[in-house]
């Protein structure tokens, strides 16, 4: 039987985010991210002055773009994209030129000084391949994150994107980002 096409993505209900950073910590532990580097982050957006003040928290990480510019510019093919949409770095092929870091419009990548290679969110492909969800998704106490396969019409992520309004960040980059922020 032919495998059905898959397209993994992440829906983020950022209004529920309370900036507890459990996802950041879980990611660091799960993926042995070096001290000082992060694969995901919480952007803070402040509006107004006290007492009329609001702060929005917006989790962000690699958008696993449909047209990833990091992959396009990589001279060795170390940055590559799986058929299911996950963008990865092949650490054995990476020469550490950092062209992909410069070319990523979402500043999603970091340089691993020790290994001299570039690294970033893998959407926990090692967990996903075993049928689990990424560590950040599992950890999030306020259920901000929903991971799933966009091609699977019975999935929760499919339902959310079909019924809710959402936005992606800076679509004008042309990268086709796949982090969907619910409105």
């Amino acid at each position: 039987m032919a495998m059905k096409k898959k397209r993994y993505a992440l829906v983020v209900d950022s209004r529920k985010c309370i900036n507890c950073k459990a996802c950041v910590v879980a990611c660091k532990a799960e993926n042995n991210v070096p001290i000082g580097n992060f694969r995901n982050r919480i952007n803070e957006e402040r509006k107004g002055e006290y007492p009329k003040l609001s702060i929005n928290f917006e989790p962000e990480q690699c958008h696993h773009c449909a047209e990833p510019s990091c992959v396009r510019v990589c001279p060795t093919g170390a940055s590559w994209q799986r058929k299911d949409g996950i963008v990865l770095v092949n650490y054995d092929e990476c020469i550490g030129c950092r062209y992909c870091m410069v070319a990523c419009p979402y500043d999603a990548r970091y340089f691993n000084e020790e290994q001299g290679v570039v690294d970033k969110c893998t959407l926990c492909s090692h967990r996903v391949d075993k049928g689990n969800v990424p560590a950040c998704v599992e950890t999030c106490p306020s259920k901000v994150r929903v991971f799933g396969d966009l091609e699977d019409t019975s999935s929760r992520i499919h339902e959310l994107l079909a019924t809710r309004r959402y936005r992606v960040k800076e679509p004008q980059t042309g990268n086709g980002p796949q982090l969907y922020y619910l409105l």
Binding site: S69, V73, P75, E93, C94, I95, C97, R98, A103, Q172
Partner: protein, 326 residues
């Protein structure tokens, strides 16, 4: 604060790559220029041929050292990715460097060749078979090398211009800007070397040739920088904000002062001042040594600053988090 993933080494690399391209171009051109069928600029061509390969060779070395894993640089040459400017550029740069060294070799005198091969152990027979006179190939090597030198000059701009994530770079003008800057740096470096060469002082017609070349290239560069600024102002918000980096932002001073005025306009004015009486009034070309040195020095500094500004300001520019939106 924004981190710079590319730093000074990349700036130097882009500058040196362009410099070699410009030196080769000027040398090849001088080679082809004849008056009454006599190669009047042969000394210029020879000097250019001697200088051309070194900057790019040093620059490539620096780039390799800048890699996270420098010993993996060979991987650049076991893959070919036509979508990646860096991949194409690596091949282009290598071929150009080989041609530039070949061109240098073609300009060696018989004595110089003997001296060079006397350093090679006599038992290395294969190497000694390379001790041949290829001076008659000069014209052909230059002809083959022209497109590659232009390619290298353009590549240094495309490397940045092709990055769609950085609005400061991502216009179709950066490639030409870098090319003409490279060509003018090459002409200036050659002028510097000719004038500084005490053993056989540069003659007036030689300086005039290089000054003319430089005036043409600087003017072309200026005519690209102007539309770059205008285009930026008339473009989408992201590009406009990116241009803000040199129009009021942190790179404003170095762009307008040291780069545009000192690195382009002042040397252009000096060179026109030198050239104009000769061209328009038929006076003798004065060929002042000091003015030539000043102009050439300023052009080189300007060429370096252009790369500096672009590499750094470009990395700050992006589609989000720019000043206004913050």
């Amino acid at each position: 604060m924004h981190e710079f993933n590319w730093g000074l080494l990349i700036v130097i690399y882009l500058f040196l790559g362009g410099l070699s391209a410009g030196l080769f171009f000027a040398a090849g051109l001088a080679d082809y220029m004849t008056v009454d069928d006599k190669p009047v600029y042969a000394r210029v061509a020879r000097m250019g041929a001697f200088l051309a390969p070194w900057p790019v060779a040093i620059g490539s070395g620096l780039l390799i050292l800048d890699l996270g894993n420098w010993y993996r640089f060979y991987k650049l040459f076991i893959h070919f990715r036509w979508e990646s400017p860096m991949s194409i550029g690596s091949y282009l740069l290598t071929i150009f460097t080989v041609i530039a060294f070949l061109y240098l070799f073609a300009w060696l005198t018989a004595d110089e060749r003997q001296w060079l091969f006397s350093k090679v152990p006599a038992t290395w027979k294969q190497v000694h078979r390379l001790n041949v006179d290829i001076s008659s190939w000069r014209g052909k090597i230059a002809m083959v090398g022209f497109p590659f030198s232009i390619g290298v000059g353009i590549y240094t701009g495309v490397l940045l211009g092709a990055v769609s994530a950085r609005p400061f770079w991502n216009t179709n003008l950066v490639a030409q800007m870098f090319l003409f800057s490279a060509l003018s740096s090459g002409a200036a470096a050659l002028m510097l070397a000719m004038v500084l060469n005490k053993k056989s002082p540069a003659e007036k017609h030689e300086i005039k040739f290089l000054v003319t070349l430089d005036v043409v290239f600087i003017s072309l560069e200026l005519f690209i920088i102007l539309p770059y600024l205008i285009h930026g102002q008339l473009s989408s918000l992201a590009v406009k904000q990116a241009l803000g980096l040199i129009l009021g932002g942190p790179y404003t001073f170095v762009f307008w002062g040291p780069f545009l005025v000192m690195g382009l306009l002042v040397p252009l004015a000096i060179e026109v001042y030198e050239l104009a009486p000769n061209i328009f009034k038929g006076h003798e070309f004065h060929g002042s040594r000091n003015l030539a040195l000043t102009a050439a020095g300023l052009v080189l500094i300007g060429g370096f600053l252009l790369r500096y500004i672009f590499v750094y300001a470009g990395q700050v520019s992006s589609f989000h988090q720019m000043g206004l939106l913050r």
